[in-house]
Structures are given as structure tokens and as C-alpha cells.
Symmetry: C2
């Protein structure tokens, strides 16, 4: 090694030892007779000191050539510092340097390599290799490394086999768009990159591998929006001979293990909630349950009192904001403006203040007497000092709008504790969603998800009512994983493809191999996949997955550092037998 130690490990115990460090020049302070350098590597910072009166002039000369981000090798003796720095672990010592070597100079970096940098997003992405030198980025990658190791340790200990599935597979356009790869050896034919290893892991179950996992890259050619990446990483798992609850238990076990090992955090009980319940009481299939404020339906107490807006609404529903009766006019107006934004879409907001003196003050006092509003308060479990916020309209959009308001109130009132994690399972999703545009049902999860056994009979007669044996894991309002018990019966799989409007030929061309496999003794099975980038971001306390990906792409799917995608040579196109159309 070019060094004897790294820049994070020297302590008072080492005082007097001759050592060699390598690293990057973080900072130079030249006070004439004395020069100090903060030398940085992945492990920390160590202070180098050069005393001009005692040090070889050639060394001092070399030191005076240095600039920020030069890579150097320094030999010296570990000394106790006069002025100790208790902010860094090496703060008790410094290195009296006898010898230095410039391993590589650096031109001036385009932004400062500091925890708080002056570099904007775009610049940092173009020079991502410099961005990664910064502590916050490096720590995010270290967190990811730990998550990777601990995930595999848990699953290995539970007898899951890690099996690599292929990347050059077959295009199955159901779901998102595939990235495709022209085959040179088979002209006119294409591979596709996997959107997930779904069919392969099911085939592994048919193979008798009863517990499979893989941490694997997946690809979706979607129109990108903020915080979506064309390539992303999944923890992908599948099990045989299990019921739904075995899967829930196994994987809440994984998540608890990760919280314990990586964050030293003891995750509490993981609630299990039906999709219907979540939609009705949180307006959302990924509720943030760090705070309550669930929905209270008020139709029976709010309708029939002459307030036309409520009377003609399918649903009148509210939330109770504790201790907010003292909100000012301005604050209430701001909330009204919020719900009326086009992306929220409510027509207006009704508020009822339950004053400390037990009177009510509302925006609908014209229609409701004090004792009417008292009934609302009873429904909502409101107490004096609370503020009730009520929306009305068609059930679906009203719940969706109230969910946004609830999340905003949670944020405004600091009810989303950054250091708390609340996990829950959402269960019993609808199997199919009607898509108006294509006039057909789409699979809400994917076409391999099994209906709940009690609903199977309705798949042909009443497909919209069938529930799926599917589950999502939600933490702090973020969906971090989802899966289902799969269909393992060929006939049922065919019915499912029928319900989704596949012709027999399409089903056969795309998924014939899977239906064939089901004829050779396919075991009952199910599985789950976690969005690993998202899980890392959640653990790291960030909203952005990009921070947890070493080399992310921007919102146009472009890697600005290597400048990709890019044109290729005519020779390459010719070899593949493809040509570009005039655009």
C-alpha cells in the first residue's frame, strides 16, 4: 500500500509513530512559518502540519505548490495537538510531515467539495465523480452498501437462494414500455431489458427453488418525471408453499431487521389495512400513519339542512386538526386556495372552529345551528380548540383532495416526525382497473396476480368487483414494496388474460412459456419486490432517490457526465440491419 493508515483512524494511541497517509488536499492554511493542511480520504480528515523552521525547504516548496484537491502522499510522525478539535475523530492528533509527494495535481474543481457546496444540480451531475467526494453523497452510498449487505444476510439466513435471471429477455408490452435491444445475430429480432424478473422468478418456483431472491436492475422506458429513473434496483423475492400471511411475516421481518441493523431503530408493529379502509379513511392507498387525522364521513349529519352544496354531494367528509381553532382568516384562506388548486381540484373548503368557549364558528353558519355543528364535532371526536375541515363532492375526487389536505396539515403541524417510521401493509386491492382510453381492464398489479379465492368465480361475470390477493408495504406514506400471491393454474391464467383483452395468440406469443410451465406441476407461490432506491432514500431521510444512486440519469434519461445516450456509427447500424427514420 502507498499508505500505512487512512485519514480517519489515527488517535492519541498512535502518537510518536511514523506513518504515511494518502489523500486529497481539502484546505491549506499558510501562516508564514507554519502551514496546515487538512488531508481527506473516504475515512476522514487528518491535519498535516509543516513547521518551516524545521522542515526541509524542498518539502515546504512542494507544499506551496499544492492546491485544493491535489492528491498527495505524506510521511510523518503522529503528534498530540496543542489545540484539540473535538468535532472530528482524529482531532486529538496531527502529523508532523517530513516528506511529501504529489501523486497527481488537480485543476480547480467546478464547485467546492464541502458538505454544503456552491455547485448546482446540473453541474454536480456533470462532475458526479467530484460530487461523490462530498460527505453527504458518500454517506448515502455507504448507507446503500450496508442495506445491500444486510438484505442479503437476512434472506440468506432464511434459506432464500440468490439466482441471477437474464437481462436480455423478450418484449412483453403489457405494463410499461420496454427498452429493446436489436439482435445482430438474429436480424429483425430484438431482446428486451426486463421491467422486472417476474416471469423468471415464477419459473424458478416451478423449478422447485422454493425461496428465491435477487437484488437486481430493472428497466422501464417511461416518460420520466421527477425522481423516476429509466433503470432502477429491486429487491426481488418469491416463495412457494406459502399463504399471504407467510409472505407478510417474512418481509416485515426483513424490514425490521434492516431498521435494526442499519439505523439501530426498532420498528413497531406493522399494521394491516385493507385497500378499502385506506381509501375511505385516508383517501390514499399509501397513507402516512405517523399521524392520525383520519377521515370522518358526515353525510348523515351534514345533509338535509338546506346547504345545497352538501345536499347534492355524494360524499361530505372531513378531518379534525387538533388545536387549530385559532387559525387566522389568512391561514384558512391559504388552505382554501390550496384545495382549490387545479392539481387538488376541490371546489371549496368548509371550516368549523370549535372554540375554547365551546361555541362553533364556521363558514356555513347560515345553514347550521350550533347544535348541528356539535353533532359534527361528536362524529369527529373534536374537542374545544380544534378545527374541522370539510370537503364534499363525488366520493373519489373528494377523498383524493382531502388526502392532500391531510398531508399538508400533517406537514404544517409538524406531525411527520423525521425520526419516526410507521409501516403498514395495504391488502386486498382491486384486481383490475377500467381504462377508459383503451376501453378495457388493466391489471392493477400485473397479469400474474391471483384473485382472492372467494372472488375467482366473478372474474368473468363481474371483473371490476374482484379483489386481488395483493399487498403493498407502505412506510411514512411511501410505497416501498408490493407483491401478490400468483396464479399457478393454467386455466385461471388464461381467464385472466381474457379479462385483460388478450387474444389467445397474443397470450400464447408473449406468455406461452409460462402457461406451458404451469402444466408441469407448478406449486402455489407468491412474492414481493421492493424499490431498493426508494428504500435507501427512506432510510437516509431523503425524498430523492437520485442521491442514493451513484450515477443517476437526469429527467431526460441522460447521463450528462458521460454524455449518453449518443449517436453511434453507421457501421454499427448497418451491422444491426437497422436505419433511422426521418423525423
Amino acid at each position: 500500500m502507498l499508505r500505512t493508515h487512512n485519514c480517519g483512524e489515527l488517535r492519541m494511541d498512535h502518537a510518536g509513530q511514523k506513518i504515511t497517509l494518502c489523500g486529497w488536499v481539502q484546505k491549506i492554511r499558510d501562516k508564514g512559518g507554519m502551514i496546515w493542511i487538512d488531508l481527506r480520504d473516504r475515512y476522514g480528515i487528518t491535519q498535516l502540519v509543516f513547521d518551516e523552521s524545521k522542515t526541509d525547504t524542498s518539502v515546504i516548496g512542494a507544499v506551496r505548490e499544492l492546491g485544493r484537491e491535489y492528491v498527495i502522499k505524506a510521511e510523518g510522525t503522529v503528534l498530540e495537538r496543542y489545540a484539540k478539535n473535538d468535532k472530528i475523530p482524529t482531532g486529538e492528533i496531527e502529523i508532523d510531515v517530513h516528506e511529501i509527494e504529489i501523486l497527481n495535481p488537480s485543476i480547480l474543481p467546478p464547485f467546492t467539495i464541502e458538505d454544503e457546496t456552491d455547485g448546482g444540480d446540473e453541474l454536480r451531475m456533470k462532475y458526479r465523480y467530484l460530487d461523490i467526494r462530498r460527505n453527504p453523497v458518500r454517506k448515502s452510498l455507504e448507507l446503500r452498501h450496508k442495506m445491500l449487505q444486510q438484505t442479503r444476510q437476512y434472506l440468506d439466513a432464511q434459506n432464500f437462494m440468490e439466482i441471477e435471471t437474464p437481462f436480455l429477455i423478450k418484449s412483453t408490452p403489457e405494463g410499461a414500455r420496454d427498452f429493446i435491444v436489436p439482435s445482430r445475430v438474429n436480424p429483425g429480432e430484438f431482446y428486451a431489458l426486463p421491467q422486472s424478473p417476474q416471469t423468471f422468478k415464477q419459473l424458478l418456483m416451478v423449478s422447485g427453488i422454493d425461496r428465491y431472491f435477487q437484488i437486481v436492475k430493472c428497466f422501464r422506458d417511461e416518460d420520466l418525471r421527477a425522481d423516476r429513473q429509466p433503470e432502477f434496483t429491486q429487491i426481488d423475492c418469491e416463495m412457494s408453499f406459502i399463504t399471504r400471511d407467510d409472505i407478510l411475516n417474512t418481509f416485515e421481518g426483513l424490514v425490521k431487521y434492516l431498521f435494526d441493523r442499519v439505523l439501530n431503530y426498532q420498528l413497531g408493529e406493522v399494521e394491516r389495512m385493507s385497500y378499502e379502509h385506506a381509501m375511505r379513511y385516508y383517501g390514499n392507498d399509501k397513507p402516512d400513519t405517523r399521524f392520525e387525522m383520519h377521515f370522518v364521513e358526515l353525510n348523515h349529519v351534514a345533509q338535509g339542512k338546506g346547504f345545497n352544496v352538501f345536499d347534492r354531494s355524494e360524499l361530505v367528509v372531513g378531518i379534525c386538526a387538533r388545536g387549530c381553532a385559532n387559525f387566522s382568516r389568512k391561514q384558512i384562506d391559504a388552505l382554501t386556495d390550496f384545495v382549490k388548486k387545479p392539481q387538488i381540484g376541490a371546489k371549496g373548503l368548509v371550516y368549523v372552529k370549535y372554540n375554547e368557549d365551546e361555541t362553533f364558528k364556521s363558514s356555513v353558519d347560515k345553514f347550521y345551528a350550533q347544535e348541528d355543528l356539535k353533532l359534527w364535532a361528536n362524529e369527529m371526536n373534536a374537542a374545544p380548540g380544534d378545527l374541522m375541515l370539510v370537503l364534499s363532492g363525488d366520493a373519489g375526487p373528494t377523498r383524493a383532495a382531502l388526502s392532500e389536505l391531510r398531508l399538508k396539515m400533517g406537514a404544517d403541524l409538524n406531525l411527520k416526525d423525521k425520526d419516526e417510521f410507521k409501516a403498514l401493509w395495504i391488502l386486498d386491492f382491486p384486481l383490475l382497473e377500467w381504462d377508459g382510453e383503451s376501453s378495457r381492464y388493466h391489471a392493477m398489479h400485473h397479469p400474474f396476480t391471483s384473485p382472492k379465492p372467494e372472488d375467482t368465480g366473478q372474474l368473468e361475470s363481474n371483473p371490476g368487483k374482484v379483489k386481488a390477493n395483493a399487498y403493498d408495504l407502505v412506510i411514512n406514506g411511501v410505497e416501498i414494496g408490493g407483491g401478490s400471491i400468483r396464479i399457478h393454474d393454467k386455466k385461471l391464467q388464461q381467464k385472466m388474460f381474457d379479462a385483460l383483452g388478450f387474444t389467445k395468440e397474443e397470450a400464447e406469443k408473449q406468455f406461452g412459456f409460462l402457461m406451458d410451465a404451469f402444466e408441469y406441476g407448478a406449486p402455489p407461490h407468491g412474492g414481493i419486490a421492493f424499490g431498493f432506491d426508494r428504500l435507501c432514500a427512506l432510510f437516509g431521510g431523503s425524498d430523492s432517490i437520485r442521491d442514493y444512486i451513484a450515477f443517476p440519469k437526469n429527467n431526460s434519461g441522460r447521463d450528462t457526465m458521460i454524455d449518453s445516450p449518443s449517436t453511434i456509427s453507421q457501421e454499427q447500424l448497418d451491422e444491426l440491419g437497422i436505419s433511422m427514420k426521418e423525423m
Copy 2:
């Protein structure tokens, strides 16, 4: 769980317990009053027994419906067997079954699911999900699983950070052909799939991540030959602030650790041998050193005796096969035929038998007296009873041919012990190879490999003579890994691109980002990559990597199970703005 135990774990301790098993019907023996079933899962086989006189007729009825590979669930009581079977771990017990449920029937599989199957290669690939049910295939995948876990454990303990590099990168046609991926969002532009994460891992070193690893899929669009796959897995590693020997020590440590943990085998000292030595004494840069039989050059004792063939040869070189003086005429003829095969390419074979009576008998007795041949024997350290085999001609092809002969002799004489592993490093490869076809130098390793420091000065004046600071790890004649100390200086990197015939523009377009990165304090670094499929095959004692890949492709790059590659829809082509040329 649908089961209480698996099919591999029940023992005498469990006798009397009520248990439930799930699995596949391996075999049914129906002797009238008694029926036995071998039930199989991933963990083993357990014998089920049904006594017609004591069992519910509905159960017996169900049993008589079963066929091979049906998936069933069986409830019963663990009993001690009368006739124990010591060939399987569950052989002391059997299950007296009260209840069975058919979880899924099976049509007759296209080949038998046995260790020795009647299914040919093609059939087994088409039904790979059934092939994996066979013990040998499942065990290969289990070995691979273990190799994956242990590799990461070793590297994690050594402070290597696992970092995922992108799959959608940029085409850099130097080296093998890239698979390319059209970008829909950026029409006319393409991503490429990585042939290796080479440039990204070097950028990570520039980022200060001083120890990186990844077990990662890589892609090469090559014309396939036996045992090559278009997608393959690498253990990919890189380190900063190291010398070559630090890398050799670290990674022979990894290999020793894997042998110990996975095979409980203690790998001996890992020899270090120069490329020049390997070529001269084994005719091969991946010598199998489980046996000696190294080359002995005989020019000075064999030339000038009137044997024209030798006299006009650049090289006369032989090997000594111990104890083979008694080879028959027929055996010698067979060896002669072997070396004369077009793919070996020798013109003929000279043999010298050193008889037990200390006389010599050779194919060149006309030209050489007994005392001449005694000199050969001295050079070769031959003893009475040995057979000397000698080739001649131009040095390169002659060594290559003799290497083939040496390997054949090693195999014929059983000198390649299947249970022995001999590892060595090959060092100091040439940096560049002249390519006659393109009339330019190619990088023997890749364009980022550093010349040996003492040779750097000759890069422009005498490029063919420059040695690379590169190394390969060879075990039992198989190259399982290779790497190099990298260039970390922009100017040297430019010189290297010049030597390879890149124009400034090409170098800038393809690798500008890397050369830019070198300007911002790139540390000295180097790394290695192991062919993980090959390493698994070596550990498993197989010559074929395909056995160690769950879903391999055939020699036309086709997955016959899912039938990929395949055509895609016109709509998909249109969205990508590409069209197929008439072929």
C-alpha cells in the same frame, strides 16, 4: 406455510410427530395393499406410505390418480422405517399419510427428472424450469449462491464498497461489439450495455471510493462460440493507493477464502510467473500447473547434426513424458496424428524412447547417435522409461502446438487431478498487440492499462516492446480473472490512445469524460475482474459455464425457453424511430 417441514429434514427424532409436507411426486410404487411415494423438494426426498387396509378410501383413490411431478400436500405421522435406507438423510423414517391434497397436477414431463436424465441438451434448455428440478443443476445453482454470499462477505470485511454502476451507458466500440439500446426520448441516439464497468469504477476511484466491488452482469455482442454467453457475470473490483502486489495479495486472499469456505479446500501458495516465462515453458499464458512437463529447448543439442528439419527451424523444443517409453507404435502414431491436425498445425512429431536398458530408440535414429540422444535426455532430466516428444518450427506456432500436446499428455496420463487446484499469477503481459488486419496496435488488456513504469519511455519509440502492469489469475489452466494497474495521468492516457491509433476527436468523444476526470486529482489505482460464471464452473468441477447459469442462452444467443430474441410490433419500432433494412 402449507407445510410444517421440508422433504429433507425429518429424522428419527421426529418419530410420532404429525407433520405436513409439500413437494413433487418423484416415484410411485404400488404393491396392491401398500403404496409408497418418494416426495421431492429442494431439500431432499421423503418416503410417504399408504396402507390400503388402514387408510381412508378417498385418500387411496387420490393417490391412484397421481403421476410423476404432481405437486401434493401430505399430512401424516412420522414412523421409523422397517427397512432403512442409508443412502438418503431421511432414510430412517417414512410418513404414514392420512390426508393428501393435489395442489397441481402435471402432464408427463418431456424428460425424466433424475440425476441422469434421458433429455438431450436442447430439450432441457427449452424446459429449463424442469431441468432445474434435477439435483445436479440445482446443486450448481446452490454452489453459485454460496460463491456470491462468500465473495461479498470477504470484500465487505476488507472495506470494499459495493456500488451499482449504470447499465444504460455509452457505446465505446474499442474492444468487443456493444449491444445497443435505442433511446425513444432522444431520437437517433443510443445507449449501450456495458462490456464491463471499467470506466465507472475508475471514476469511483477519482471519487475517493478507494475500494469498490460489484458482482455485475456484463454484455458482449460477439459471434458466439461454445461456452460463451452474450451476458455474463463479473466480480468487478478496484482499489486506490496500492501497488500491484497489494492487488495480488488481496485477491489471492479472496480466492483462498472462497476455496476454504465453499469447498473446504486449502489452496496452496499462488505462484507468480511472467508472461514470458509462461510462453517459453508452457507455450501458453494460462498454463495448467497441476503437472510439470515443462518445455525444454533443444536447439543447441539438436541442431547441426544433419537433420534438415531441425536445422532450419527457429526452435526445437520438447517435453518429457515420464514412464511412457513403452508406448506402442499405435500410441505414438496417434500422438503424431494429433499434432498434425490442422487446429494444432505441427508438421510432424519426433519421439525418443529412453528405454529401461538405457538405450534410446527414436524416430530420428538416422541423424542422431545414442550419445546425441543422451544429451537430449540430460537437458530434459529424462530417466530410463521416459518418452521425449519434440516439435520444431517457428517459435510461436511450435510452442502453441507443444502446449496442446502437453495438455493432451496431461489428460491421457491422468496428471490433471480433479480434486486439486493450482493457482498462479501471470504477470508482465505485453501492453500492445499488433493487428495485421487493421494495421494498428490493439490493447492486449484494454486502453486503460498502465505500462510498466520502466517501459513508459518506449511507448512512442518502440510500442511493441512495452510491458503492461497487468496480471491474470489462472487456476488449473483456466483464466479466471485479470486486471491491471491503470493509467491515472491524462497525458499518458492520451499517449496510449495515440499508440492505439485513436484520433484526438475519437478519444475525446468516447473517453473525454475520463480524461477530464484525471485532471481533478485522480489517485493511483488498479483493479481486477473475475469471470464469475467460469469461477463457479471451476469450483463445481465442470468445463461448462452453462450449467452454472440459471437461464443460459444457446450458441445463437437464443433463449429457447422464452423464445427470445423475437420480433416486436411496428408500433414499438415507430416509437423508436427505427426501421429494419431489407436483408
